[in-house]
C-alpha cells in the first residue's frame, strides 16, 4: 500500500529538471498515468485568448486521452486543430485525442493546440502560467512557460529531458 501511495505521488509530481538546469526554474516535464508532458508553453498576449502547446509521450501501457485544460478561475481550454478552409487560416474544435502507448503527440503552432478564450489577465513574456491539463488518466497541474508573442517553439525545444 505504501509503495502504491509512493508511486501515485511520483506520478502526479513534476519530473525533476535535468542536471545542470537552474532548480529555481520551473519544471519543463510532467507526468500522469504514464503520459509525459514536455515543454508546455504559450505565447505572450494581451488579448483574452491564448493557445497552449506541448509535447506528449505516452510511456505507459494504456492509451491516455487528452480532453482539454482549465484554469483555476474556471476558464476552460478546448482542443483545436489548425486548418486552411476556403483559403483562410483558422482553428476547428476537436474531440478528445488518444495517445496510444509508446506514441507521441505534438501540440505546436499551426497544428494541434489547446485554446483558451476569455482570459482575465494578460500573459507576459518570461512569466509562468498555471494550467490544469485534463486527461483520461486524471487532472494534472502544469507550469506553462510564456514565450515571446511571436515565438514558434519552447525556449528549450530540442533539449531531451
Amino acid at each position: 500500500m505504501k509503495h502504491l501511495l509512493a508511486a501515485l505521488l511520483l506520478m502526479t509530481t513534476p519530473v525533476l529538471a535535468e542536471e545542470g538546469h537552474d532548480h529555481d526554474e520551473p519544471a519543463h516535464a510532467f507526468e500522469i498515468g504514464g503520459l509525459e508532458i514536455l515543454h508546455p508553453w504559450t505565447n505572450a498576449t494581451d488579448h483574452d485568448h491564448a493557445l497552449l502547446f506541448m509535447d506528449l509521450h505516452n510511456e505507459g501501457a494504456a492509451p491516455v486521452e487528452i480532453l482539454g485544460a482549465r484554469l483555476d478561475s474556471g476558464v476552460e481550454g478546448q482542443l483545436v486543430g489548425f486548418r486552411m478552409k476556403g483559403g483562410e487560416m483558422g482553428f476547428e474544435t476537436l474531440p478528445p485525442i488518444p495517445v496510444a502507448p509508446g506514441r507521441q503527440l505534438a501540440l505546436a503552432p499551426d497544428g494541434l493546440a489547446i485554446r483558451f478564450d476569455g482570459l482575465e489577465a494578460v500573459l507576459e513574456e518570461g512569466h509562468h502560467w498555471e494550467v490544469i491539463l485534463l486527461t483520461s488518466a486524471g487532472e494534472l497541474e502544469i507550469d506553462v512557460v510564456i514565450e515571446a508573442e511571436d515565438a514558434r517553439q519552447h525556449g528549450h525545444a530540442g533539449h531531451s529531458h
Binding site: 494581451d46 488579448h47 483574452d48 482542443l79 486543430g81 489548425f82 486548418r83 486552411m84 478552409k85 476556403g86 483559403g87 483562410e88 487560416m89 476547428e92 476537436l94 474531440p95 485525442i97 488518444p98 495517445v99 506514441r103 507521441q104 503527440l105 505534438a106 499551426d110 497544428g111 494541434l112
Partner: protein, 437 residues
Amino acid sequence: MRDSWDSLPVLAQDLIIAGALLLPLLVIGGVLMRGFRPLPLVRALMWRFRWANLLFILLIAVSTGMGIGLIAQERGLRIGSAQAAEKFDLVVTAPGSELTMMLAAVFLQPSAVPLLDGVAYDRIANHPQVQIAAPIAFGDSHDGAPVVGTITDFVTYLSDGRIEGRIFARSGEAVVGAAIDLQIGDRFTPAHGRGSGADAEAHEGVEIEVVGRMARSGSPWDRAILIPVETVWEVHGLANGHTFEEGDRIGPPFTPELFPGTPAVIVHAGELWANYALRSEFTVAGETMAFFPGTVLADLYRVMGDVRQAMSVMSIVTQVLVAASVLLGLFILTRLFQRQLAMLRALGAPRRFVMAVVWGYGVTLLVAGTALGLAFGYAAALVLSRIVTQRTDILVTASITWAEVNLALGFLSAMSLLSLVPALVVLTRPVVENLRQ
C-alpha cells in the same frame, strides 16, 4: 477597449475604419461649404480646364490603382494556393525540406526528391486511422503536362467523384485533368521527364488510353494526367508492387518487397483529429517526415505577409509622391484661374466661399481619381489573376475588399486635408494684381 473592438464583426470594424477615414474630409467640407453653394462654380472650373483636369484624374487613378491591384493580387494568390492545397490533409515523405516536398507533391513542381520504401508505405497504409494512403509517382509528361501515377481512391477523393467517363481500371489507362487537351478515347505515349529536357522517345511503344476526365478543381492537378502508379513503375522497367500471382490487379495493398518507392504518400484520415496524431506518428527521425501543406503554406504566407507589408509601404510611398505632384498641380491650376478667383473676391465674395471653391475643385479631382483608381485596381487584379491562373493552374480570383477601399479612403482623406494649402494660398494673393493679369 481592444476586446470590445475584437468582439465586433469584421464588416462593422471595416465600416467604422472607413467612416473614421472619411471624417476629416466631411468635417472640412461641412465647415467650408456651410451656407454656400460653390458646386456650380466647381463644375464650371472642371469643364473650363477639362483636359488638364482629366490628366490629373488619370494620374491619381493610375497610382491608386497600381497599389490596390498589387495588394489585391497578392491576396488572390494566397487564397488560391491555399484552396488548391485544401484536399491535401497530410503528406508523408522522406525527411527533407517541407516546402520542396509540398511544391512537388501538391503543386506538381518537378523536383528530385528521395523515395519512401515499401515498408514505410505499408506502415502508413495499414494504420487504422488512415482512410486513403495514396502513393504518387511522377517524372513523365505529355505535351508539357505531368503524368502522375497514383491509386483510384485518391482520384475519386481529389475530384469528389466528379469524373466524366470512368476512373482507370487497369494499367495503361488514364484520367485527365480538366485543362488537358485530350479527349476520352485518345491515346498517348508519355515522354520521360518534363519541360525542355523531356525525352519523347524514351517510352516508345507504350500507349496510354484516356478513359475519364476530372471536373475543374482550380489546382495544378487540372493540368495533370493521372494513371495507375503501377503503369509508371512498369514503363520504367521496375516491379509494379504486386506478385506475379496477383495478375493485372492495380491498387493497394502492395507487396513491400516489390514496391519500387514513392516520393510522397498523400494521407487522408477518417477523422479530422486523427491527422494531428498521424503527423506525430509518421514523423520518425531519419525515416519519414509528415507535414500539413496548410501549415507550410501558413509559414510561407507569413513571409509573404512581410512582402505584403513592403508592397503596402511602396504603395504608400507612391501615393505620397502622387500627393506631392497633385498638390503642385493644384497650385498650377489655381494660377490658371487666379483671375477668375480675383474677380470673385473683387465682387465681394467671402474668403471662405473662395476657399470652398478651390478646395471643392481639388477634392473633386481627388474623389474622381480615387474612384477611378479603385476600378483600375480591380481591372489590374483581374488581368494579373488570369495570367497567374493560366501559368500556374492555381485558380486566382481578383477581388477588391475593404482593406483596399480603406487604403484609397486614407489617401483621399489625407489629400483633402492637404488641399486646404492651395486654397489658403489663393487668398494670400493680391486681388488687384491678379485682376490685371
